[in-house]
């Protein structure tokens, strides 16, 4: 698997798209800091970008990479290599190179603007950690979709739909449920619904670290009591990990049975 990972990573590290992605973050980081000149303000704006764009880019990039390297995959399949190794190697190659673009692209401008001297460093770290998680989650979901759909257009369609669902529609349904059942105690429901969507979970984790928690009022206290404890942190990181592990497990299961 590590050989495949190495070559996928190597291949991607020379791809134009990796640089576009990297430059995009670099530019975004510098522009935000230039306009704000305030690290913590920029972290908030960056959060909006990360919870929307990272999943989108992870999804599209994952699907694109899978379809683009289809023939190469076939070449590899005829070699004496385990199937699981081929697909997991490719998956980790994509996810790691995307994550590296994210970390470097955002890291360089923030470090240049004195991140290490600022109190915002932990906010920034949680931002990057969730960003990396989201990259791994959505790339894995994208590989799942691509593996299940031979048709490229259909695959892209489903991938965009999945992103749209988790980034937008899910929250719409969530909000309607909250408004509809407002006479009932909703803390637990809100907590579970948040855990059920990696984008929401990441958003809340960042918001709580950015200390907007108090704004959340009573509900915030419930959330803070949950996420603020080490138990909650472990549980939410565990949940994010589960969001990585389950799709990855399905990639290898699906790959074993698929015809090429």
């Amino acid at each position: 698997m590590f050989k495949i990972l190495k070559y996928s990573f190597y291949d991607l590290s020379r791809s134009r798209w990796s640089y576009v992605y990297f430059l995009f973050y670099l530019l975004l980081g510098f522009t935000l800091l230039f306009l704000n000149n305030d690290l913590s303000g920029a972290v908030i704006t960056m959060m909006n970008v990360i919870i929307v764009l990272v999943p989108l880019i992870g999804t599209i990039f994952g699907v694109m990479y899978y379809y683009d390297s289809k023939e190469f995959t076939e070449l590899l399949l005829a070699q004496p290599i385990k199937r699981k190794s081929i697909f997991l190697g490719q998956y980790f190659g994509v996810a790691i190179s995307l994550a590296a673009s994210l970390i470097l692209g955002l890291g360089i401008p923030f470090v240049a603007y004195g991140l290490f001297q600022s109190g915002a460093i932990w906010d920034f770290v949680i931002l990057l950690v969730t960003g990396v998680f989201l990259t791994f989650i959505f790339t894995a979901l994208a590989f799942n979709i691509a593996l299940s759909n031979e048709n490229k257009i259909k695959g892209f369609g489903f991938a965009i739909l999945l992103w749209l669902f988790l980034a937008v529609i899910y929250d719409g349904i969530f909000l309607m449920a909250l408004v509809h059942f407002q006479e009932y105690p909703l803390d637990k429901f809100a907590l579970i619904a948040t855990m059920g969507n990696p984008i929401d979970l990441s958003r809340i984790l960042i918001l709580l670290k950015l200390d907007i928690s108090a704004l959340l009022g009573y509900t915030g206290a419930v959330f803070k009591n949950f996420f603020g404890t080490s138990m909650g942190t472990i549980l939410s990181l565990g949940m994010l990990s589960l969001w990585v592990i389950l799709p990855v497990w399905r990639i290898s299961a699906k790959a074993k049975k698929k015809d090429f």
Partner: protein, 235 residues
């Protein structure tokens, strides 16, 4: 030796292989023929483990290949469409495949043979179809495995390269290898193959030597013999 017993494969509702029984003896060149969609590629891919059959067993040298991958160390495969990661150069690709197979290879000889020296530092996206096919051939032949499977090896090749390819295949045969070829170029098949495997609608329609085929169809010309099978069947 490759042994295939009652092999069935469906893609959705489309039954592609409908019970194939076949034994391929060691040594010699076997051409796998058949009209488009008859199941040639599916059969080859089943042997390679790329397609997973619904029913039936495939064993190579007595070993069932199901859920195994190590047996592919002894197979060289030339895929139909040569499409490689575009960001790599020819040299890097060769190095990478060598690294993945971890086996001695005579790539230098093949590069010289197919006159690829000038392309080694070129990225694969910039290569023409024919050159890519030559790279494809280098990758296939460099490992010297006893079983070689070639899916449309002639596609995109210029006449000189075609002659070289034939030359090489003969050389490989002389080493006692088993070579499985699919092709639509009948003259090429006639020139090179000793045995024929004709697949029609997922079943083996003919399995024997070129002479036997000519005898059976009563045709002296190879192409006509093939055509005869097809028309006969449709009538």
């Amino acid at each position: 030796m490759v042994t295939i017993e009652s092999l069935y494969k469906k893609f959705g509702k489309n039954e592609v292989l409908k019970g194939i029984d076949l034994t391929i003896k060691d040594g010699g060149i076997i051409a796998v023929l058949g009209p488009n969609g008859s199941g040639k590629t599916t059969l080859i891919k089943s042997i390679l483990g790329m397609v997973i059959p619904n029913k039936g067993t495939i064993s190579i040298n007595g070993q069932n290949i199901k859920k195994d991958w190590k047996y592919r160390k002894e197979i060289d495969y030339l895929p139909q469409i040569a499409n490689f990661p575009g960001n790599l150069t020819v040299q890097e690709l060769i190095k990478m495949i060598k690294d993945l197979r971890d086996k001695p290879a005579n790539d230098d000889e093949l590069i010289a043979f197919f006159k690829l020296e000038n392309f080694l530092d070129k990225k694969l996206v910039t290569l023409s179809g024919g050159t890519k096919q030559k790279v494809n051939l280098v990758l296939t032949f460099m490992f010297n495995s006893p079983l070689v499977i070639l899916d449309e090896p002639t596609s995109g090749l210029d006449p000189i390269s075609l002659i070289r390819l034939k030359e090489w295949i003969h050389k490989e045969k002389a080493k006692g290898k088993t070579i499985l070829i699919t092709s639509h170029i009948m003259s090429f098949v006639e020139e090179i193959a000793e045995d024929l495997l004709f697949i029609l609608e997922g079943k083996i329609y003919f399995n024997g030597s070129v002479q036997e085929l000519k005898k059976q169809t009563g045709q002296t010309d190879f192409e006509h013999a093939i055509a005869n099978i097809l028309t006969e069947h449709h009538v």
